[in-house]
């Protein structure tokens, strides 16, 4: 019944539309069919294509800030210009930066589209395959979720979900848990390796990393810019415990590079760095945050 009502309503409005057209039949100009009508016929979205992936299989470490990247290749198998749409299905809990995309696909070589893949920090190791489809073309990309290191030397922050109060252009919160201590901005197919806040001259700024599971923590290392003029000066380190947020260390008057804070062991599931002041630079810069047990 709802469908019938819809149709009835449409009929009425179409009639109204025609009515105004009829009026002009009495006017000066006749209504003539258009000469150059509109949208051209193009190749179908499902033009035959060849799908490829590079690498052909992927390893991914658990952690929402530890993406692995697959380059999905699409090549047209017809001479004409093709713009196929590709869909990627991933099993739970795999998350993709794109689940579908449309691209120009040349005939001579594949168009490559990077797709980032992450899994939550507590994802069990195992096989999780992606299936890629465009029209009749199909491709499976085997994905192995690896074990996360867990010994006493393990940095429990590494690769784990990280958020910030604001994020500066060409930087990313995930840049502080990527194992890279440099200050390198986003580039071509290259994620940023550090974080800066997006509110120049305004402090404090916050950066928070959520561990895969609660862990014993007795040492937190914060790396900032290697040059004093860009380095963070004052910050607090807090851990999230069953009792809530607890400040475990305060660093003051730091000049460059980074500092280690040690404190009595705490069982925590997240670490928060509160940036309070720099050595003059308008933005707080953190290049890495590490958390270790005793």
């Amino acid at each position: 019944m709802p469908h019938v009502q819809q149709s009835g309503r449409r009929t009425r409005t179409v009639l109204a539309f025609s009515a105004s057209a009829t009026v002009i039949a009495f006017g000066i100009l006749a209504v003539v069919a258009p000469r150059g009508d509109s949208a051209p016929a193009g190749p179908a979205p499902s033009a035959p294509v060849e799908l490829t992936a590079g690498p052909e299989r992927l390893d991914v470490a658990p952690g929402l800030c530890a993406p692995s990247t697959a380059q999905i290749g699409v090549r047209s198998l017809e001479g004409e210009k093709a713009y196929p749409t590709v869909r990627i299905d991933a099993p739970t809990p795999v998350r993709l930066s794109r689940t579908t995309f449309t691209t120009y696909a040349p005939a001579e070589y594949p168009a490559l589209t990077p797709v980032d893949l992450v899994v939550p920090g507590d994802t069990p190791a195992g096989e999780y395959d992606l299936s890629v489809q465009s029209g009749d073309a199909r491709l499976t990309i085997p994905v192995t979720v690896t074990e996360r290191g867990s010994g006493p030397d393990a940095n429990v922050a590494r690769g784990q979900e990280t958020v910030a109060s604001t994020v500066g252009n060409l930087t990313a919160a995930c840049g502080v848990v990527d194992g890279n201590h440099t200050y390198t901005l986003e580039g071509f197919n290259r994620p940023p390796t550090a974080w800066a806040d997006g509110s120049p001259g305004v402090f404090p700024d916050e950066l928070e990393t959520r561990f895969a599971r609660p862990a014993q923590v007795s040492r937190v290392v914060v790396h900032t810019h290697a040059e004093s003029r860009f380095a963070l000066r004052d910050w607090d380190v807090a851990l999230h415990t069953e009792a809530g947020w607890t400040t475990v260390a305060s660093v003051r008057g730091h000049t460059a590079g980074g500092a280690t804070s040690t404190f009595p062991t705490v069982r925590a599931d997240a670490v928060r760095i509160t940036a309070l002041a720099t050595n003059g630079y308008a933005h707080a810069i953190v290049t890495e945050v590490e958390a270790y047990g005793p």
């Binding site: 006017g27 749409t85 120009y104 197919n189």
Partner: protein, 537 residues
């Protein structure tokens, strides 16, 4: 239309964007995207539930463009969920869209109507090339899809070629980086009485930046795929001020670099050599396709893969000829590694080209055969020499502008001078600043003849609020006698032409970092026909 029409309330821009905004960057496939039906055969015309259930689809407004004496292109795109794949349409079935053109705002005197198919392969964009209209005439147009009627647009045809037009008014605009500013300039522009609006490029920006105004880019990545570019155009086009300006006048558009990637040149990426030419050509093809889909362009401009014939010509009676140029697609790679550099053998290589041989010859032919009073080059980058080195005895030039393509510029200047081309006027965008320039027969000799005029228009929003003057630029003034005026605020440029006189008004805003700035005329210049050079008001 009549009051009893079933037209659902139009969602606001913030409602349209809010749903998407909350989403995480990583989507699970169980999200809305998974519901997309892909593949399947093309375009059985809709018969179907999609049409009956279609939510309000005219979220991106309407537009008209490329006016001729007997016709104009009408544009819209069905996008009930503008930032989603295929704008929230199913990506599989085409949908008929009715259109009509009337002489009056109430649509009582309809003179043309028809039905166009909105096809998934063009992201449900509709381009109707309406012909058989009268010259120099205002028309109103609108679309209907499913139960929904679009907002009306107003357009105007060009004058007939053989009738001497007594006057025309147009505005030119460029550079509308939405992240850093509001489109207040378009509010003011919409209130003007104009025949046409020229957009000289940087309609979108390609980056992932979010800024601090709540106008951050979607998707939050540097654009690469066709759906990336489509979503970015859709996001820009949800802006009500931009929609109103499109609905008020026909536009003639050309692209600059940010419609693809900053400072691209032919098949060279900004990221070259990290991004190889093969890979960049795919990005360029995606960018071109989305550009065509979202602009009121004719089929003649439809790109075939990475190639788009964008340069074209418009005549306004015998009064003005607009040569609309493409200074990106065919140019030599920037010399000296791009940036601001001293000239070199490389930048002065006579084989370098800004337009490519074919377009250059087309331009020269179009100038020679014009017969129009005013011969306009509507283009992107700074044409006149602009020495950016404060030291009197040193030179530094923007390698991306015509200064980096001196031989190409010289060929045009020499041609204009040798053939006595009447009243050449160059219109420019790109630099987010207003400038009025006198084009010299030899820029290195201030005493050489002035052979034409260049008006450089500031940005709609790019670079943010800006300021009236700039200390660095003031310091350059003494060595730039051929550029007597500049300003670095936001706005647009309005021009009024008669057979005797060209008038240019530089319209600027006090700010764009918040809505509502008043507009003022910062400067007015005249050019007298037959007397190249600027005459201040």
């Amino acid at each position: 239309m009549t009051p009893d029409d079933t037209v659902e309330p139009r969602p606001t821009q913030s409602q349209l964007l809010a749903a998407r905004w909350g989403r995480r960057r990583f989507l699970t496939v169980s999200g809305a995207a998974a519901a997309l039906a892909l593949g399947g055969s093309l375009a059985a015309a809709d018969t179907s539930p999609q049409r009956a259930r279609l939510p309000y689809p005219f979220t991106l407004g309407v537009a008209s463009g490329d006016p001729l004496a007997d016709g104009v292109v009408l544009w819209t795109r069905l996008a009930p969920d503008p930032l989603a794949m295929f704008g929230g349409m199913d990506g599989r079935l085409s949908v008929p869209v009715e259109w009509e053109v009337a002489e009056d705002e109430a649509f009582r005197r309809v003179v043309r109507r028809g039905t166009a198919l909105a096809r998934p392969e063009f992201a449900y964009a509709v381009h109707v090339d309406v012909r058989g209209l009268r010259p120099s005439a205002h028309y109103f147009y609108r679309f209907r899809a499913g139960d929904h009627l679009s907002q009306p647009g107003r357009t105007k045809t060009a004058p007939a070629r053989d009738v001497p037009a007594s006057s025309m008014r147009f505005a030119f605009v460029s550079c509308q980086h939405r992240v850093v500013g509001y489109y207040t300039a378009y509010q003011h522009l919409t209130g003007e009485d104009l025949d046409v609006v020229l957009h000289l490029g940087d309609y979108i920006y390609e980056g992932a930046d979010q800024g601090s105004l709540g106008r951050g880019h979607f998707p939050e990545r540097t654009l690469l795929t066709l759906d990336d570019y489509r979503a970015r155009y859709a996001q820009y086009k949800t802006d009500p001020d931009l929609q109103a300006a499109h609905a008020a006048f026909p536009w003639i558009v050309t692209m600059d670099d940010h419609e693809v990637l900053s400072n691209w040149a032919s098949d060279y990426s900004y990221y070259y050599p990290q991004e190889a030419q093969d890979a960049f050509v795919v990005r360029r093809a995606n960018a071109f396709r989305a550009y065509w889909e979202h602009m009121p362009l004719r089929l003649a401009q439809l790109p075939a893969g990475p190639d788009m014939p964008l340069h074209r010509r418009f005549d306004y009676g015998g009064l003005a000829r607009f040569n609309v140029l493409d200074t990106r697609q065919y140019r030599s790679d920037q010399a000296n590694g791009d940036g601001i550099k001293p000239p070199s053998d490389e930048s002065r290589d006579p084989n370098r080209t800004m337009l490519g041989d074919t377009q250059e010859q087309w331009l020269l032919d179009g100038l020679a055969g014009s017969g129009a009073t005013w011969n306009v080059l509507a283009q992107q980058v700074f044409f006149s020499q602009l020495d950016l080195n404060v030291a009197d005895d040193k030179e530094s030039y923007e390698m991306d502008a015509w200064d980096g393509y001196e031989a190409s510029r010289d060929r045009i200047v020499d041609f204009v001078q040798d053939r006595g081309i009447g009243n050449p006027v160059v219109l420019t965008g790109d630099v987010h600043a207003n400038n009025a320039c006198e084009i010299k027969a030899d820029f290195d000799d201030p005493d050489s003849a002035t052979i034409g005029t260049e008006f450089v228009g500031t940005s709609i929003s790019s670079s943010g609020d800006g300021r009236d003057t700039d200390p660095g630029r003031d310091a350059l003034a003494s060595q730039l006698p051929h550029i007597p005026y500049y300003n670095v605020q936001r706005g647009y440029v309005r021009c009024e032409l008669t057979p005797q006189l060209w008038r240019t008004d530089f319209k600027v805003l006090s700010y764009v970092s918040r809505p509502g700035s008043p507009l003022r005329t910062d400067a007015t210049f005249y050019v007298e026909s037959g007397r190249p050079g600027l005459r201040p008001a």
